[in-house]
């Protein structure tokens, strides 16, 4: 089985964020990490490879030329090869452009199972997996908290308000995973050494046969207008004295469905 994990490079969640004049996130190489949500996708790809002997895992990323380091971080966890799609014309791409590029890259490299994290920690759009599925005309099993492959069928569990839904689709299929699906492994020291020797191909837009006018800032239909710091100050409520404080606490707990 040909497994491809789509992984984005994002700034580390603790990194200081700043924006360019045209509201693009300033990306510093030192802060770059694999999108934390994608770690679950990477782990799931590796587990499916272990469960389905003979499978290969490819890490696919669209990003700046320096994102090869981020792909290597994923390859240090495991997998066989990396593919980076990078091109100056991609700067400023929105979710749809990104999906267009990933779909073209997937078509070029071939796939039976494509795994995504359910969102990226920087933009938090969460629409790329479904857009890629649309471009490819293939089924998407979204928000998987469990994934099984049997024959040429993929089956997932999707958490619902009460219990979970079981959803299945024929392969080739796309799957987006949620955090509860697994516990991502740490890259091992040997894995880090081995990652340096794994093949890592770089594709440009021309390699994918894509027109620069259909991607990047020019084609973006989504525009960031502003950004503001979220205040993380929490406000506690304090009830004082004997006049009904206990009742108010109980009422609050009932309201929160704790009692």
């Amino acid at each position: 089985m040909n497994i491809v994990v789509c992984m984005k490079e994002t700034p580390s969640t603790t990194a200081e964020k700043s924006f360019t004049a045209d509201m693009r996130l300033e990306r510093r190489k030192e802060d770059a990490i694999p999108n934390p949500f994608d770690e679950y996708a990477i782990e799931e790809g590796l587990r499916q490879q272990e469960k389905n002997p003979g499978s290969t895992v490819t890490m696919l990323c669209m990003g700046p030329a320096t994102a090869t380091d981020t792909i290597r971080k994923a390859l240090a966890m495991g997998g066989d090869r990396g593919v980076l799609v990078t091109d100056p014309a991609l700067a400023g791409s929105d979710a749809i452009s990104t999906a267009r590029v990933l779909a073209a890259a997937l078509t070029k490299i071939g796939y039976d199972l494509v795994i995504f994290g359910n969102a990226a920690a920087d933009a938090y759009g969460g629409v790329v997996p479904s857009a890629v599925a649309e471009f490819l005309g293939k089924p998407l099993l979204s928000y998987a908290s469990q994934l099984g492959i049997a024959g040429d069928k993929a089956t997932i569990q999707r958490q619902a308000e009460i219990g979970y839904n079981v959803v299945e689709a024929p392969l080739p299929a796309l799957v987006s995973v949620v955090k509860s699906i697994n516990e991502p492994r740490y890259p091992s020291m040997k894995g880090i050494m081995a990652s340096k020797k794994k093949p890592l191909d770089t594709f440009s837009l021309a390699d994918l046969g894509l027109d620069a006018a259909t991607v990047g800032g020019a084609a973006a239909r989504e525009k960031a207008l502003g950004a503001e710091k979220v205040s993380t100050q929490r406000k506690g409520e304090i009830y004082v004295g004997n006049d009904g404080a206990a009742d108010r606490v109980v009422a609050f707990l009932v309201e929160q469905k704790v009692l």
């Binding site: 360019t20 693009r24 996130l25 300033e26 990306r27 510093r28 190489k29 030192e30 990003g63 700046p64 030329a65 320096t66 380091d69 290597r72 971080k73 240090a76 990078t86 091109d87 100056p88 991609l90 700067a91 400023g92 791409s93 990104t98 740490y186 890259p187 091992s188 020291m189 040997k190 894995g191 880090i192 050494m193 340096k196």
Partner: protein, 405 residues
């Protein structure tokens, strides 16, 4: 979404200012590391944050070593990570140092475990063992299936190991060991001990398996330092080991001293992790603790402490890094290891004490890492050559005069 470095450089130049470096890497030492090195560091850092910090305080209090972490440590490939082949990862000395640093950010006991296994038990087998010994032991030790310890110190021979009284008498194709080793890290649960003893032809190293008749261990209790680590005595009473268990390729004090050199190197890095933990904790506290209506970090006296701590940490990190670079080129001299071990242990201990004072009463509890590190560092200051002994090594190197005895 793609942003290029030259673009950024122009932007910064246009503003005429360099961005404020992070308080925990004030000198941008990060930029001196390769991607691999950063990856190793970040991996171990994440492991420590996820698996070690939540449990280490309880182990320290209970006086137990977190043995449950051994499989994960082995899985990460940290045991003998700087050795090549035999199931080891073969990373460079800087990577090994960074791993020690991050482990000791967690606890000196944990770093000691890894130092002893990799540098003091696996290294002598790797460097001086026969091919059969290497094939037999190293892969299992890298996998954490066999744990080792290193027996050099004795009740009456600490700083002066040449005064050791443990003997190895040849008898046919066996050696008979007699004597006591003291203060041996991992001793109580180790599967094998690399023991140094006086034979007819000088000091020799032996691999002694647990369960060998005449070999027993007993743990040291009531320690107030390195509590999350097992420290033991090894007893040898007419303990017969096959001659094939002797390390064939080294004789004399050079054997154990070369191992110590490896481990001291790791310590020079490790203590910077403990110091950083104290620094981060104190810095954080100083910004939130309010007295006299302002954060205590706003007082000049607190800032003097923090500025000293930050500066000493930078110096210690640079000492360790340059030592690592020299080591990776095969150019590190033992006196340089002494400089770094001595300075970095000193500064880490001072940092722990200063940081503790910033936390006031809170600083003495296990809620914060500082007192735990402070107590641990007393051991680290002493083992692998006390501060005094390294002073004498450096003194002798620069004057050419021996002041030991």
């Amino acid at each position: 979404m793609v942003d290029t470095a030259p673009e950024r450089a122009t932007r910064h130049a246009a503003h005429g200012a360099v961005a404020m470096p992070s308080a925990t890497d004030l000198y941008n030492i990060d930029s001196l590391l390769t991607d691999d090195e950063r990856m190793v560091r970040d991996t171990v850092k994440k492991f420590v944050a996820g698996q070690v910090l939540p449990i280490i305080g309880e182990h320290f209090e209970a006086g137990t070593f977190p043995r449950e972490l051994i499989p994960a440590i082995a899985e990460l490939g940290l045991l003998g990570m700087h050795l090549e082949g035999y199931g080891c990862a073969g990373l460079n000395a800087v990577c090994y140092g960074l791993a020690c640093q991050e482990l000791e950010f967690g606890d000196s006991g944990l770093r000691s475990f890894v130092s002893v296994q990799g540098s003091l038990a696996m290294f002598p087998i790797y460097a001086y063992g026969s091919e059969e010994q290497k094939q037999h032991w190293l892969p299992k030790m890298a996998a954490g299936e066999v744990i080792g310890c290193f027996g050099l110190t004795e009740p009456d021979a600490g700083s002066n190991p040449s005064g050791m009284q443990t003997t190895a008498r040849k008898d046919g194709d066996t050696y008979i060991l007699n004597g006591t080793k003291m203060w041996i890290t991992n001793g109580g649960f180790a599967d094998i001990a690399v023991v140094w003893a006086k034979a007819e032809d000088g000091i020799r190293g032996f691999i002694v398996e647990r369960g060998t008749p005449g070999f027993t261990t007993s743990d040291v209790h009531h320690k107030l330092s390195l509590r999350a680590s097992v420290t033991s005595e090894l007893h040898f009473a007419d303990c017969r080991v096959p001659a094939a268990n002797m390390l064939p390729n080294v004789r004399g004090l050079r054997g154990p001293l070369s191992c110590l050199d490896e481990a001291r190197y790791g310590i020079a890095w490790g203590v910077n992790g403990a110091a950083r933990a104290c620094y981060e904790s104190a810095l954080d506290y100083s910004k939130t603790r309010v007295q006299f209506d302002r954060p205590i970090g706003g007082f000049q006296l607190t800032q003097r402490k923090l500025a000293d701590i930050a500066t000493e940490l930078i110096k210690a990190q640079l000492l360790a890094l340059q030592l690592g670079r020299l080591k990776d080129q095969g150019l590190a001299h033992p006196v340089q290891v002494s400089v770094a071990k001595r300075n970095n242990c000193r500064q880490a201990l001072n940092t722990a004490r200063e940081a503790r004072s910033i936390l006031g009463a809170n600083g003495i509890t296990l809620e914060y890492p500082i007192s735990r590190h402070m107590n641990n560092l007393e051991s680290v200051f002493t083992y692998e050559g006390t501060d005094d002994i390294h002073t004498l090594i450096i003194g002798q190197a620069i004057t050419g005069l021996n002041a030991f005895a």
